[in-house]
Subunit: 420 residues, 2 copies
């Protein structure tokens, strides 16, 4: 079928919205400049001049359970377990007490920074014996308040547990401590021609242990599946200090119940994840991004089916957002749509091993979609500008700050607009 009109093969360029930027984005949102992307921004929530966040215990009707409070003897014990890793400075404790969205604030007076699973085990054993509450914390980039204390829980930070333990260059299996930052792991495995099986906006700050503990989905879920399939093993320390070693690196291990699965997505409620073994796919040699306008939700679904058929194995992301979401992104982030106004927008990413083959497949798909009316306008990103299209999609939660914890079944990726 011939396309009804030629595809707009324009290089993607960010244009400012017509009205003044401040008009629709007052307050905190207005302070977000374009080039301070989520990656850099996360973790910077306590910049000087930012108004103080109300305490969670004052904002919500929560009740502290009868845990003990940290004594001088406890601090001395912690200092013996993690020499130099006990933080009690109130200023240093401000940031880890507040969540990234700045809606929740705890009043923890101690943060511990262990370096090994053994230290985590000794800390938890002590806390268990003393009936002290503990709040594990990774990069503190979560958007549902799970990474900050509600009251005065001890914050157990994985920040110094950031060593890669092994990487197998044939199988692509990475074993590392829980505190490794996702972006650093990405760089590490990319040097060896692999990629991490997950990628998300907070990658510059988030820890792999936190990703696993929250069962993060991210931008590569459609292609590489969920962490339930790619995490091959993990090590966790239970509340009483028991170290649970499930750090296998077998792709199929039927030797008993798969206990590690209980920890994936458990958000620290069953124990502290201290190390993970994860399967990294080979690095694709070619990545293309297309941004399309769709006339309706039916066409979004049909476009999804068509592109699964025509792009097949190279399809690595399919995301959509509605007109309202695009408007919010435009208002808050000084961005405008690269295609004509539409009820729905679709972002398609392909990742493959042969640039020529991929471009041919994507070209055929785009021509077919435009020709059959599934898509009313479209643009394909070129080279260095590809990532910017991606950035816009990653930034959606900033415009409407709710994070989906349940993915709708019709989309394999972060269909943010329909849950915001």
């Amino acid at each position: 079928m011939l396309p009804r009109r030629p595809l707009a093969w324009l290089a993607w360029a960010f244009r400012g919205p017509p009205g003044p930027r401040g008009a629709c984005a007052p307050g905190a949102a207005g302070a977000w400049g374009r080039r301070v992307g989520p990656r850099a921004r996360r973790g910077c929530c306590t910049a000087p001049g930012t108004p103080e966040v109300q305490l969670t215990q004052e904002r919500y009707p929560v009740r502290r359970l009868p845990f003990s409070t940290v004594s001088e003897q406890d601090l001395a014990a912690f200092e013996r377990i993690v020499p130099g890793g006990v933080v009690t400075d109130p200023e240093a404790l401000q940031a880890p007490n507040v969540d990234w969205l700045r809606t929740l604030r705890g009043c923890s007076k101690v943060l511990l920074r262990p370096r090994t699973s053994e230290e985590v085990s000794r800390i938890l054993r002590h806390c268990h014996e003393r009936n002290l509450a503990v709040n594990p914390q990774g990069g503190n980039t979560g958007m549902v308040g799970g990474s900050v204390p509600v009251f005065d829980e001890i914050i157990l930070s994985t920040a110094l547990m950031n060593r890669v333990l092994s990487f197998h260059s044939v199988s692509g299996i990475l074993v590392c401590q829980a505190g490794c930052v996702l972006e650093e792991l990405s760089r590490y495995v990319e040097e060896q021609d692999f990629i991490m099986p997950l990628d998300l906006g907070a990658k510059g700050s988030c820890h792999i242990g936190g990703n696993v503990a929250t069962n993060a989905g991210g931008l590569r879920l459609l292609r590489y599946g969920s962490l339930r399939g790619t995490v091959l093993g993990l090590e966790a320390v239970l509340a009483d200090g028991t170290v649970l070693d499930c750090l296998t690196s077998l792709r199929k291990d039927n030797t008993g119940y798969d206990l590690k699965q209980l920890f994936i997505g458990s958000e620290g409620t069953l124990g502290v994840i201290t190390a993970v073994s994860i399967l990294c796919p080979p690095k694709p040699r070619a990545v293309n991004v297309a941004f399309l306008g769709c006339p309706g939700f039916t066409e979004v679904l049909q476009t999804f089916s068509t592109c699964k058929g025509m792009l097949g194995e190279i399809l690595s992301a399919f995301e959509f957002m509605d007109a309202e979401c695009m408007q919010l992104v435009g208002c808050h982030l000084n961005l405008a749509s690269p295609v004509q106004e539409s009820p729905f927008y679709v972002l398609i990413e392909t990742s493959g091993s042969n640039a020529g083959h991929d471009a041919e497949k994507l070209g055929s798909f785009l021509e077919h979609s435009l020709g059959s009316g599934l898509v009313t306008d479209g643009t394909m990103a070129t080279d260095q500008r590809k990532v910017k299209l991606r950035d816009e999609q990653e930034d959606c939660p900033i415009a409407g700050p709710l994070e989906p914890e349940v993915q709708p079944p019709v989309s394999g990726n972060s269909a943010k607009s329909c849950v915001e």
Copy 2:
């Protein structure tokens, strides 16, 4: 790099081994004709004239736990729960009492054939109250004796629980009862341009519930991952009759602990899986198979790395076997290697959406591998004969009847030779 010699682009043809076939395959193995493949064979283990299998309780020092025995009142109760679904005929009970390898035999006197989860629940509740032991059974194709009773356990067959409950043609999510036969499901989803994410030799008899209960890997693990990622939900009935409904069909569901994972691979020890929700990938439009000879294990690993890089997203299987395994296959199954004798053999399968692109990628890879000495001989299957190469690989366990329950980390698929 130029290849040292041209690739043998021969169509694959099965040749008989030089010696008389019976010489190396006496007894049961000798009775296996070439065209009675594992798919047809499984379930035919009690053909007339086959010698009786020794009772498990006589062969091994096992002790019956103090369970009750089935009474007339129990049979009447079962008849009320599953009218017409209570089997007590000794002849009909012969086959379900013996495992596929014919090494184990129970002496169950009752087999129940429920059609719904509710019936399974009522059966188990009754057995729980009466302290009766139960042995769930799917297609009885397992090779580790998990599907047959040890003593006189009641066999709870899923054979009549074979309804497809729903299929979503956009997302490819299939929801079906546990007793659906894998091959029938494959046919069903293939009609709608999808495939099942797993495929294995026993597909003609095995039940999807049994596949999930044993966490079957199979021939598509490398491409589509394990059932831990593709099974989105399941329904199970616990020993006391409680129905556990985790039959979600969301790709990412973080609403609590992922309890279904405990049942995947639990082999019926935690409950009876009665329904599953599974994610089916789109059907590839082109499939190619290549069979290669490798001079050593180091070259096998290097070939794996090279082919992951060069074939990338279209690589759907990489399997290897050693010379001894090939010899056994040749002896027992009247097959000969299509390539010259080598210390190791590698089978590569590609599945993609564009036949031309795939052939080009595979051709480049094969030329490179031959040129660099990683591979000493190779052949690529053509059209209708492709599946025969696959059959040979599927038949490996027949030649040396041990099934790997742990996959070695260097191979993503059923590297049978190294565990047999």
